[in-house]
């Protein structure tokens, strides 16, 4: 059994309530930090731990915290990003539903480290029931003195507010989230200034993912160095992976970073292998990361076994690699159509583009329409190059990463599965049947193409 850090006690009865949580060592990190540590020392521990943002970008958390501006007389804020909207990702929901106090505890400790007296949880509107669980947990914590004025007699005050979003994917982008939290239209801001300098209400703000903040608890409890012993290289600690798709055992798994991909996808402890047919492709980190063929997921282009870590998954860049992303893992078997899946992604990004900057606003819709035409058996040979050109003109030219996120799945699908796109042009009648590959699996004619 692999080591669990966040989910160590998740199956214990009563862990959702404060009493059960306390019985398993809950709020120890608050006691330790507030009674024995200076705020800077907590930041130092997080730096030592090598913890990286779990929301997708993988930016070192300690470094992010040390960038926080500290002008006199201006409040600072901690905002927890619980707007988990990346298709395929549902790890934070599981954490917040099962063990909400872990997040609250992490927030108290982190706010103490950052000097924030007000913290927010921005949670997506679809998680309304989770917001109620969190509010209940906050109520319990406040009644027990873990929140409010003068926590543990240390003179540190903290209030946590839960804000429910209205269901926009873009509000998971940190600056759009801040705009939404301020009550405005959720449009991403232009950076710089970064939230660490001018964030919520133009005050210095740290925005972190739920899992990142939860990971602060074991880091403070056991020390950053202890945490850094788990994992491999610069990917330290554990990561929650929400696995789905054509696997035998879908669910949320806590893995040690550095777990071999082969073990993750095929062992019975985790995904349990393919459900019936043969694996075709894998998206390891949520819909925005490049899709890779199963073979390239198991081994890098150099032939080394691939590991579930930030570095190993992105080995080979975008040509043969992908990204760990937010941990929204899903696998395809050979009954699935990559063009259909790409179209599905493109439709999603088309729907979710905020419409602020031109390449994304217009380009995502164009991608959607061309892919629809291809998948429904109306495509032409030049459509594939057109798709390639459109995604190239979106990528890197937009305000926020949504443009990139819309472009990468299309680019990688064409890069690795161009023959499947061509099949859609040459076999128009066949692909008009929506279950075309389920009836007759696509046989690859050539080895994966690299562009």
């Amino acid at each position: 059994m692999a080591r669990k850090i966040l989910f160590e006690h998740i199956d214990k009865p009563g862990i959702r309530g404060l009493e059960g949580y306390r019985a398993h060592g809950g709020y120890r990190s608050v006691e330790k930090a507030l009674r024995t540590m200076a705020p800077e020392a907590v930041v130092e521990e997080v730096k030592k731990s090598g913890l990286r943002g779990r929301g997708g970008a993988g930016f070192p958390t300690g470094m992010k915290w040390s960038f926080l501006a500290k002008p006199e007389g201006v409040p600072r804020y901690l905002v927890v990003n619980a707007d988990e909207s990346e298709p395929g990702t549902f790890k934070d929901r599981y954490l917040m539903e099962r063990i909400p106090h872990l997040l609250i505890e992490g927030m108290v400790t982190s706010s103490f480290a950052l000097g924030a007296n007000t913290a927010f949880i921005y949670i997506r509107g679809e998680y309304f029931h989770v917001a109620r669980i969190l509010e209940q947990a906050i109520g319990e914590a406040r009644a027990a003195g873990w929140l409010g004025r003068n926590i543990l007699g240390s003179g540190f005050d903290l209030d946590i507010h839960v804000q429910v979003g209205a269901g926009a994917y873009i509000c998971g982008e940190e600056t759009a989230l801040l705009e939404s939290l301020e009550g405005k239209r959720g449009n991403p801001r232009l950076k710089p200034p970064f939230p660490a300098v001018k964030g919520l209400y133009q005050c210095p703000t740290v925005v972190n993912n739920v899992e990142t903040i939860a990971a602060v608890v074991p880091i403070v409890n056991d020390g950053g160095e202890e945490y850094a012993k788990v994992g491999v290289g610069r990917s330290t600690g554990t990561k929650l992976i929400s696995a789905g798709g054509n696997i035998k055992r879908p669910g949320v798994y806590e893995i040690e970073l550095g777990l071999p991909c082969d073990e993750f996808i095929n062992s019975d402890e985790y995904c349990g292998g393919v459900d019936g047919r043969a694996f075709k492709a894998v998206v390891p980190g949520g819909s925005s990361v490049p899709i890779v063929p199963y073979e390239l997921f198991l081994r890098t282009a150099k032939g080394e076994p691939r590991l579930m870590s930030y570095e190993s998954l992105s080995d080979g860049g975008f040509v043969s690699g992908t990204m760990l992303g937010s941990g929204g893992f899903y696998a395809y078997n050979d009954a699935q159509c990559i063009v259909r899946s790409t179209w599905n992604h493109a439709r999603f990004y088309h729907h979710e583009s905020c419409g602020q900057c031109s390449p994304c606003r217009e380009g995502t819709g164009w991608l959607d329409k061309v892919l629809e035409r291809l998948e429904l058996g109306e495509g032409r040979a030049e459509d594939i190059d057109l798709l390639w050109d459109i995604q190239r003109k979106i990528e890197g030219n937009t305000i926020c990463p949504l443009g990139d996120a819309a472009a990468w799945p299309v680019a990688s699908a064409i890069r690795h599965f161009r023959d499947e796109f061509e099949y859609h042009v040459t076999h128009r009648e066949k692909v008009k049947d929506p279950r075309h590959f389920a009836r007759e699996p696509f046989r690859r004619t050539a080895r994966p193409q690299t562009v």
Partner: protein
């Protein structure tokens, strides 16, 4: 003072200047260097927080500064990026950037109706200029374009949402120049639209400036609609003593004969108004007698508006005028520049 080099031309600029402003300074210093100025569809120097949306002013930064000479990984919006000492910028010299800009222009045009022949903005439209410089002759977009019904927002402004490129300039005008914003962007993605939510709601002393800042024909003057093509009118600088606080009464009258067809703010060489004017000047003084006329407006010779040669003094009506004396004309200074 930081020094910045744009396409090989170096200029020293005050601290906090953006790349676009620095490029404009180069263009103002020497007219021949104006090619280094990136096009700007949404940025407006007189409006705070404008810019960054349209992505046409993207530039490459191969060298960040003397202190940190690393190149910037992605193209940056020049209108919102401040220069650093020793920064090097590529605007027209980087083929990948030109390609990216062409891509942006293509995106701007895929849902644009291209109805220039019936659009009042034709002739003074930034999107026309931009697509002439960075666009292609034919579109690769074959799907149905996004369309909206034209609506009246307020009694003097017509909104053609189909033509809008969502530059947010009119939103910023309403926020910063008028005393209350009642319109904005609703919906998202390619369904986003400028709207008052309730039609006919805009009623404000300075609302007419929304028309002036609109880079395309999305917001047009209802009192000028279909009255004339702009290149058949004669722009004249004029002023009056305006009582409205915040308005200096300096305008351009667009004349046909002695008839004032339209009144607008004075636009400079970058297409931005010099000062914002009030609605009284714009709509209620369409009478030549109400104005002190200063003389013909100097419009860039590349503009179709100047093709009317309105600034040449004519003593005789065109039809009976003798054939022009070419050697004599060649001596004239105002023609030499042409």
């Amino acid at each position: 003072m930081p020094k910045v080099t744009i396409d090989g031309i170096t200029i020293e600029v005050p601290e906090g200047t953006t790349i676009l402003q620095a490029a404009r300074m180069i263009g103002e210093r020497n007219k021949a260097d104006r090619y280094v100025v990136p096009p700007a569809m949404c940025y407006y120097s007189k409006l705070e927080t404008s810019g960054g949306y349209c992505r046409t002013c993207l530039v490459k930064v191969p060298k960040g500064s003397d202190k940190d000479p690393r190149p910037m990984p992605k193209p940056v919006p020049s209108c919102r990026t401040t220069v650093m000492d020793g920064m090097e910028v590529a605007n027209t010299t980087d083929p990948t950037l030109i390609d990216a800009r062409n891509g942006v222009v293509e995106m701007l045009l895929i849902n644009h109706p291209l109805d220039c022949p019936i659009c009042d903005q034709a002739g003074e439209c930034h999107l026309q200029d931009l697509s002439y410089e960075n666009g292609t002759a034919a579109s690769r977009y074959e799907f149905e374009r996004r369309t909206f019904e034209p609506i009246d927002i307020g009694d003097t402004i017509k909104l053609h949402m189909t033509r809008c490129i969502l530059c947010y300039r009119c939103v910023k005008v309403a926020e910063q120049i008028t005393d209350g914003r009642v319109h904005g962007v609703i919906n998202r993605g390619d369904a986003a639209e400028i709207s008052t939510y309730i039609e006919q709601a805009i009623d404000n002393d300075f609302s007419g400036n929304m028309i002036d800042v609109c880079p395309v024909g999305a917001l047009t003057d209802r009192t000028f609609r279909f009255a004339s093509r702009v290149w058949f009118t004669k722009p004249m600088d004029a002023h009056r003593d305006c009582e409205t606080p915040g308005c200096d009464g300096k305008v351009v009258l667009w004349l046909k004969g002695d008839e004032v067809l339209r009144v607008t703010g004075r636009k400079d060489q970058w297409g931005e108004v010099e000062s914002f004017i009030c609605n009284t000047c714009r709509y209620d003084r369409k009478d030549l007698a109400a104005w002190t006329v200063e003389g013909p407006r100097n419009v860039d010779r590349h503009s179709v508006i100047s093709q009317g040669h309105y600034h040449l003094k004519r003593t005789q009506p065109l039809l009976t005028a003798p054939a022009p004396n070419v050697p004599e004309l060649a001596k004239r200074k105002d023609l030499k520049d042409r």
